[in-house]
Symmetry: C2
C-alpha cells in the first residue's frame, strides 16, 4: 500500500467534504444530536474498520466524534485512509 | 454537586488503581486484547454514562481506551467523576 503523492491526496481530499489533512492525518469531526447517536456512529465506523483491517483514532466528546486516519505501516496517507473516510462519510449522511 | 477538596479527591483517587489526575481531569487508559474488545468496553462505559447523565471523554486507539472525567458544570472534580470511574474500573476487571 503506497503513500499517495501530495497531488493524489489533494484530489481524493476534494471528494471528502469536511475532511482535512492535519499533521499528516486525514481528520474530520462529526456532530450528532446526542451521545447515544454519536456512539451509534462509532459502532458503525468500528464495523467498517474491522472489515477493512484499518482502524481510525476515535475521540468521543459527548455528541462529537473525531476520526483521524493514517497508514502507520506505510508512513503516511494511502488509499486505505481515503477509502475508509469515504465509507464513514456515507454513514454520517 | 460540589467540587471535592484536594484532600477528598486524593482519598478517592487512592481507591482507583491506575487512575491519575491530569490537568484537573480524572484519567485512565485501559488496554484490551484488540479493537473489538476495546469497543465492547466503550459501549459498556457508554451505558453507565447515560444512566449517570455524565459523559467521559473517550479516546480509542486500537486496543487502548482513555477515559477522562471532570464535572464541567461544577468547574472541577466531583463525586460524580469518581463514582463513574469506579464503575468503569469494575467493568474492566
Amino acid at each position: 500500500m503506497p503513500v499517495l503523492s501530495p497531488r493524489a491526496a489533494q484530489t481524493r481530499l476534494a471528494q471528502l467534504p469536511g475532511w482535512k489533512i492535519v499533521s499528516g492525518e486525514l481528520v474530520r469531526t462529526f456532530e450528532f444530536k446526542d451521545f447515544v447517536a454519536a456512539l451509534a456512529f462509532v459502532n458503525r465506523v468500528a464495523e467498517l474498520a474491522e472489515q477493512a483491517g484499518h482502524h481510525p483514532d476515535i475521540d468521543i466528546r459527548y455528541n462529537r466524534v473525531r476520526l483521524a486516519l493514517v497508514t502507520h505501516s506505510a508512513g503516511g496517507l494511502t488509499a486505505k485512509d481515503f477509502d475508509l473516510a469515504a465509507q464513514a462519510q456515507n454513514l454520517a449522511l
